[in-house]
């Protein structure tokens, strides 16, 4: 990028920061009034007796806050270095920067309008209103719909971390070739127009997919299908990296990738077990099945690769583990450990197959966002419809293998909707951004490496 263009981009960034500040001032929240008791919103349970004042449970709150921190660790440094180790040395800082900056951007976006759009008072089953913008009316008293035993802001900040990691996952698809300015615009727009509505449909009170009965405990559709399919759209719109197919592009630092995978596994306990929004039996169940499915998936991928290619690779084991984590995500609060093993094995085999297919079709999803998150999330969401059992979680449903084929049908609908919405929405967003800003860096910049061309930095001096 020429120096004058860089300055223009920098000035634009300053304007955006000013916009954030203006929005914050506009929605300036009043200090929470501890004495006031919120009138409980209508819940699923018919209120025969006056609803009790929600009471904060310190165990639930502690676990939810800890889980929020765990999920943050999944993005930074987990995903940042998982992806960072897989790109070429000249692009590692840019890759890490993308994850890091998403954490910063969405931390503000969520508080200013994202949380309100996602979980705010329902409008037509499609979106939340702006009544909660700037965290107005999101105080420290529990909200009975969203964590009856924890401060409302604890639920909000937990969800924030999900809103952060979802766009971060997409970065794997367009790694090594996206303009930083276009990236900033894309993240803000995607979060607002794709993630927030989808989260509302699946998780918010009044959301139409929630009303349909779609089961998604921790984000198979909202997080993984959406980001994975968005990744596919990105790979197709961006096109292949310079030299793709002819030049060797092996990972430059696999130890870093494996450390990242370990951090993802570690943090995912917050992602899944934290989604119980309580500390106790359900959180424990989710914790156990998360670990079990992940282990099964890693071994399945490793064995498949060993048979197919002759060697078990560390990248394969790490990728298999992540695929398992993805697949168990929607199912984690509804299935038992033995089902988790089957879900994990399925994830290892199916996602590995998806990676091989990518090589066959030769589209450049650089870090396999689609094969692992899109396909893994799809398998997980469908598997939820197979293996869910009310014996594990009475608030869920039974799946096909437990006598209720209808649930599988509902999951199929949820999957299809997520696919279409994420793909079409992302495609449209990309085209718009491409028109106004341009998506890719210039060819020379790409060859030079994004660390130097976008950031004037070198990772290893």
């Amino acid at each position: 990028m020429t120096p004058s263009r860089m300055l223009r981009a920098g000035r634009l960034a300053l304007v955006c920061l000013a916009f954030f500040m203006a929005t914050a001032v506009t929605f300036a929240d009043e200090p929470p009034t501890p004495a006031s008791v919120e009138v409980p919103l209508v819940t699923a349970v018919p209120a025969a007796s006056p609803a009790a004042t929600p009471k904060i449970d310190s165990g639930d709150t502690a676990w939810l806050l800890m889980s929020s921190a765990l999920v943050l660790a999944m993005t930074a440094p987990g995903l940042a270095i998982f992806y960072g180790g897989m790109v070429r040395k000249k692009n590692v800082l840019n890759t890490i920067m993308q994850c890091f900056i998403i954490l910063c951007l969405i931390s503000l976006q969520w508080v200013l309008w994202g949380y309100s759009l996602s979980f705010g008072p329902d409008k037509g089953h499609i979106i939340g209103g702006l009544e909660w913008a700037g965290l107005t009316n999101v105080g420290l008293e529990p909200n009975p719909d969203y964590g009856a035993t924890v401060p409302h802001q604890a639920f909000m900040v937990f969800q924030l971390m999900f809103a952060v990691i979802t766009p971060a996952l997409i970065t794997g698809a367009f790694a090594e070739r996206m303009k930083f300015t276009a990236f900033l615009a894309f993240v803000l727009l995607w979060a607002t127009f794709i993630y927030d509505p989808l989260a509302h449909w699946v998780w918010a009170v009044g959301g139409w997919m929630r009303n349909l009965g779609a089961l998604d405990f921790a984000g198979g559709t909202v997080v993984h299908i959406s980001s994975g399919v968005a990744g596919l759209a990105c790979a197709l719109v961006f096109g292949r990296r310079v030299g793709h197919g002819s030049e060797a592009m092996p990972p430059h630092n696999l130890p870093m990738t494996v450390i990242g995978a370990g951090l993802l596994w570690f943090g995912w306990f917050g992602f899944n077990a934290g989604s119980a929004i309580s500390s106790g039996a359900l959180a424990t169940s989710a914790f156990v099945v998360t670990n079990t499915a992940t282990a099964a998936a890693a071994l399945a991928w490793m064995l498949f690769e060993w048979t197919y290619y002759g060697r078990p690779t560390v990248l394969g084991a790490a990728s298999g583990a992540v695929a398992g984590l993805v697949a168990i995500t929607p199912a984690s609060g509804y299935v038992g450990p033995l089902s988790a093993i089957l879900i994990g094995i399925g994830a290892g085999l199916i996602c590995y197959g998806a990676v091989l297919l990518k090589n066959r079709f030769r589209y450049d999803d650089a870090l396999d966002a689609f094969a692992i998150h899109g396909v893994g999330g799809t398998w997980g969401a469908l598997a939820t419809g197979l293996f869910a059992s009310k014996a594990i979680n009475p608030a869920g449903a039974d799946g096909l293998f437990f006598g209720n084929p209808a649930q599988f049908g509902i999951q199929v609908v949820a999957v299809l909707v997520s696919w279409v919405f994420a793909f079409v929405g992302t495609y449209a967003l990309l085209k718009v951004i491409d028109f106004f800003i341009g998506l890719r860096v210039g060819k020379d910049e790409e060859v030079m490496g994004l660390d130097l061309s976008q950031h004037n930095e070198a990772a290893y001096s």
Binding site: P250, P251, Y309, R311, T313, L315, G316, Y352, D368
Partner: protein, 112 residues
């Protein structure tokens, strides 16, 4: 004066260095290089994408010697670097027009 340039297998470096010091070499320069001759490379696989890596890591030793020492230096390197398998490396002997010791300004033979 001659510059003896030897490309050897990396694990042989210590042996060669010790032997050269024994026969009176005063110093050397060592670089990490990649190359191939008859030795084939290897395959690496990353998520189903296979790369054939043709270049093999080697070590290049450069020693500046007087004309009288060339034969013994070459013979020493050959003896210590040889394993008998493909990829042992090669030695090139170049003419050296001049050498200068930077600290003192000495040139020619005394600079070696």
């Amino acid at each position: 004066m001659k510059l003896v340039e030897a490309i050897i297998k990396p694990f042989k470096l210590d042996e060669v260095k010790d032997a050269l010091l024994e026969i009176g070499a005063k110093g050397m320069t060592v670089t990490e290089v990649k190359g191939f001759g008859r030795q084939k490379g290897h395959k690496e696989t990353y998520r189903g994408t296979e790369y054939t890596i043709e270049f093999v890591p080697k070590i290049k030793i450069e020693v500046a010697v007087s004309d009288e020492q060339v034969t013994s230096v070459v013979e020493t390197i050959c003896r210590t670097a040889r394993t008998g398998s493909i990829g042992d490396g090669k030695i090139f002997v170049r003419d050296l027009h001049n050498a200068v010791r930077i600290r003192t300004g000495e040139t020619g033979g005394p600079a070696l």
